[in-house]
């Protein structure tokens, strides 16, 4: 995995601005980390509604920690957010209770930029359309794959060889990338 080090000055700068109480920095923080945190929470919990709650809680907890000067290594903000996210997800999985402690003011702060939300919705619509372009068998291959079946199991179900399944799946993912545009182009 080509894991890049975070751009230290930028993160430090963001943390410093939040610490000083700059509202624009809070908005930038939410816009930048809101969706990734929610995606991680959705992947771990399989529960989009709970993931939204967890995301709100994580962002609030991290903002509060920054304001209280509890983030000792601002250059590792990503790791701090990840730790907080993991803890809250584990709490949720243990207790299966959703905390709803976000006050009205924080909702204003934690709302992701509507433009970003709109772009995400467009992307979702496009993705769903692209999926429907594949043949029923190809869709079944993807379905079984994301249900957690192995290639060998899928081969048994749809009557195509193991190698062909792998190739078709890779081809589909490649086509999806080409149609919706590789995000590295951003």
């Amino acid at each position: 995995m080509g894991v890049a080090d975070p751009e230290v000055p930028e993160t430090q700068n963001l943390v410093e601005r939040i610490r000083r109480g700059e509202r624009s920095a809070q908005v930038e923080f939410v816009n930048r980390y809101g969706r990734p945190v929610q995606a991680i929470a959705t992947a771990r919990t399989n529960d989009p509604e709970a993931a939204r709650d967890i995301c709100q809680d994580v962002l609030m907890a991290v903002l509060t920690a920054i304001q209280r000067d509890q983030v000792r290594e601002p250059e590792k903000l990503g790791a701090f957010i990840q730790g907080t996210t993991r803890n809250l997800i584990n709490n949720f999985l243990r207790t299966r209770e959703r905390r709803r402690e976000v006050d009205l003011e924080s909702i204003n702060v934690l709302g992701v930029d509507p433009q970003i939300e709109l772009e995400a919705q467009d992307r979702e619509r496009l993705l769903r359309s692209v999926l429907r372009m594949f043949s029923a068998t190809d869709q079944a291959i993807l379905l079984f794959y994301f249900e957690g079946h192995t290639f060998a199991e899928i081969a048994g179900k749809v009557g195509i060889s193991h190698a062909a399944i792998r190739k078709r799946k890779e081809r589909m993912m490649d086509q999806i990338r080409k149609i919706i545009g590789d995000s590295s182009q951003d």
């Binding site: 890049a4 999926l131 999806i176």
Partner: protein, 422 residues
């Protein structure tokens, strides 16, 4: 901040493994930190989540279009046209070929060593159709086969089979020997598995105008008066959480308060037992019957360990005559053992919830066995109160001996109490 080193194939492979929980804990954490710092990977993860959700929402549609077997009549027509003779193209010939294909299929499906009677065969063929596989291994139970029979119960049985098959993917994520390690790494495998299995069961079982009863939603009374699925996603949660093998997925289908069809899947031994009341029971694809024992002497009676060592059993000395086998298996599995003839009877003197019993009771009923609440009261499901005071079940031939023993045991208890009181 974009990580320009993230090459698509490597990136997507990692994210897919992350989504399918196939990375170890440290790799997961490293990837999560990376996702938070890399908008490209974050967006790709969102895309994969959308793909997964979209496909899951359309599961039935996709399965129906991609996996429906070629109808047998179409196969026969195709064969006839390939032979290229006028005679074979005629309708009569097509039907003759169809008949021969059907006959060949059934001669393989119902094997002589499992035959009991001709009428029994017809009954089973009618209910199970293609569900009865040629081989006996559990892995050969394909969930996507369309049943030949159009009866409602056969459809329910097909759904049970599909649902149990689909849960395999969840348990593959929680292999034996790793549950404790998962707990130690801060995960909650028991809850994760329970939620995933219940979601899969809902997806495969529930249809419009049907109710749902499980431990999680016992107080949802919209189920009352409907046909209802009574499920226990992980029956034997303590055993699962402590890395033991004695747990199962259990599904019961109840109509008018009576169990109609049921199924049990034991992940660690890959055993699947399904049954429906108007046909019978299959154990890993084999037709099975309950034992033919008619006396309780040396009868095999599995009983939950906590029951066998509990006070209620000690209070009923007559029951000590029984050949009890204390086991950690859940009561639903003990009932299933009675249904398949691996045990002769089972008992529970402690109160149970409906989701602990429904699947097993359906299987015993499907095997023409005897199952009743304590005191020979009729078992009734899908009530407001989901508590069952206790139960007994046995092979058909043990009905009278068991009832007599229980009656005797209770009478002696009353006598002892009166004697103690005076």
């Amino acid at each position: 901040m974009i990580d320009t080193n993230c090459h698509f194939p490597i990136q997507i492979e990692l994210l897919e493994k992350y989504l399918l929980r196939r990375l170890d804990s440290s790799a997961e954490q490293a990837l999560e930190v990376h996702i938070l710092d890399c908008p490209r990977c974050a967006r790709l993860l969102e895309d994969l989540l959308i793909i997964r959700v979209d496909l899951a929402e359309r599961t039935e549609e996709i399965r129906a279009h991609s996996l429906a077997p070629v109808p047998i009549i179409e196969r026969a027509k195709k064969l006839a046209s390939n032979l290229n003779t006028n005679h074979l193209r005629s309708v009569h010939s097509v039907l003759a070929i169809t008949r021969s294909i059907l006959a060949r299929a059934f001669s393989r499906v119902i094997r002589p060593e499992h035959a009991t009677s001709h009428s029994r065969h017809l009954e089973l063929e009618s209910a199970y159709g293609d569900l009865i596989p040629v081989t006996s291994s559990a892995s050969s139970l394909k969930p996507d086969i369309k049943p030949l029979s159009s009866s409602y119960y056969a459809d329910a049985l097909q759904r049970i089979n599909s649902a149990l098959f689909a849960t395999r993917s969840v348990f593959a994520r929680f292999p034996t020997g790793e549950i404790q390690a998962m707990f130690r790494s801060g995960r909650s495998p028991a809850h994760e598995a329970y939620r995933s299995v219940e979601a899969i069961l809902r997806l495969h079982l529930l249809r419009a105008r049907e109710g749902w009863l499980s431990e999680e939603c016992a107080s949802d009374f919209s189920r009352l008066g409907k046909r209802v699925w009574i499920v226990n996603a992980i029956d034997g949660m303590d055993e699962f959480a402590t890395d033991r093998t004695e747990f199962c997925v259990s599904i019961g289908f109840v109509e008018n308060g009576q169990p109609i069809a049921g199924g049990i899947y034991v992940p660690r031994t890959n055993q699947t037992i399904i049954g429906v009341i108007d046909a019978g029971v299959l154990n890993n694809g084999k037709i099975v019957e309950p034992s033919d024992k008619t006396t309780l002497v040396n009868a095999l009676i599995p009983v939950r360990l906590d029951e066998a060592t509990g006070r209620k059993w000690q209070d009923l000395p007559r029951l000590r005559q029984l050949n009890i086998n204390p086991t950690r298996c859940p009561i639903s599995y003990n009932l299933a053992l009675v249904a398949i003839g691996s045990a002769d009877a089972t008992l529970s003197l402690s109160p149970l919830r409906e989701w602990h019993v429904a699947a097993g009771a359906a299987l015993v009923a499907s095997a023409r066995g005897f199952v009743t609440a304590l005191g020979n009261a009729r078992l009734s499901f899908n009530g407001v109160n989901t508590l069952i005071s206790g139960l007994m079940a046995s092979a058909p031939g043990l009905r009278e001996p068991l009832l007599a023993l229980m009656k005797d045991a209770q009478r002696s208890l009353v006598t002892d109490k009166k004697g103690g009181g005076s």
